[in-house]
Subunit: 203 residues, 2 copies
């Protein structure tokens, strides 16, 4: 398998951590977003949306989306399980992975896109929306801290793909000066240390 | 099963169409967003995020997220299959369902949230971001029209959950004056008629 990725982008990191947890070997090609390498005609033949990551299989078929890649790998290499083992757990993992994505990952990404100088001059930005999303992130950190008061991981008693989504989201917040206040949000901070201490977090 | 929903909101509609395709019977409770019924303490006990839909099972357990509900139903009633039957098809359906969500549904929802008078005075709005998202939707309609030149459904040769996501997204655009131009986007318009003609579209 060949992964097209950018080492600083959060969606490729979700896939790298997932593959590390699975113990799957793969090759990589760096597609630098900073250098606009994802916008080239050559890369658009891999993904017309010009988004990363892209996974190319041995037979040349490509998957163009982080969670589609993770689900494919879960299917072809089921252990260790990261999406749930029965209908109820799978629904819980999906619920929490989507909460992590829509309530935390997306708002943090929008703060970056709409206010960071990295994008200034490259895309249209709406700084006012960045501020709305920054407030939402603060509210969601409070909500997640409450949720994590009685369980060690985002979706329940064990590590799943929902933890990977939340970790990549929150770590990506640093570039926009979004950080967990460990005094005000002790449960969230303890969870963050727990998942950051896993070897996969370095992938 | 008991579905908490709002008849005008797009995420509950995704679940209603999914259940109609499955032929599953269920009861409903209307939670009017216009009347702020989703913000009550009573409803927040069902979902602390105050979001719809919520599915309550016979044993009282709740699922608080549209795709978590759909995946649970797929697991407990596999036919007709709507998420894919093998690893490759499941990955394709996931990829296209997420494209439909992140590239079409989310931008259309943000146009509504950030520019429609429905939300004025209820949430902070960023009209500038609504315009950025309106332009993205137009670009994505062009992209989807290209994609649908050589296949009848969003994820391939048959109807899947990705079609449900795209249909609910695009129909929800009407309230923000977002419509498919059938002359400029004939493939997208033909797809829209194809999925709208299914009995489930009325759910």
């Amino acid at each position: 398998m060949l992964l097209y990725h950018d080492l600083r982008a959060p969606n490729p990191r979700r896939v790298r951590i997932f593959l590390a947890e699975k113990g799957v070997a793969y090759d990589t090609i760096e597609v630098s977003i900073a250098a606009a390498a994802h916008q080239t005609q050559e890369f658009r033949r891999k993904n017309p949306l010009a988004l990363l990551p892209v996974l190319e299989l041995a037979d040349g078929k490509v998957l163009r989306e982080s969670m589609a890649i993770c689900r494919y790998v879960e299917d072809v290499q089921p252990e260790p399980n990261l999406f749930g083992v029965d209908p109820w757990e799978r629904a819980q993992v999906e619920q929490w992975n989507r909460h992590a994505e829509l309530e935390v990952f997306y708002p943090i990404a929008q703060v970056f896109r709409n206010s960071h100088t990295f994008w200034t001059g490259r895309i249209k930005q709406a700084p006012e929306f960045a501020e709305i999303m920054r407030e939402q992130v603060a509210a969601r950190f409070e909500w997640l801290d409450d949720e994590l008061a009685d369980r060690p991981y985002i979706a329940g008693s064990r590590f799943t793909v929902a933890d990977i989504t939340a970790l990549c989201a929150i770590d990506f917040g640093k570039v926009s000066d979004i950080r967990i206040d460990a005094t005000a949000r002790p449960n969230l901070a303890a969870w963050h240390k727990r998942v950051s201490d896993r070897p996969s977090a370095k992938a």
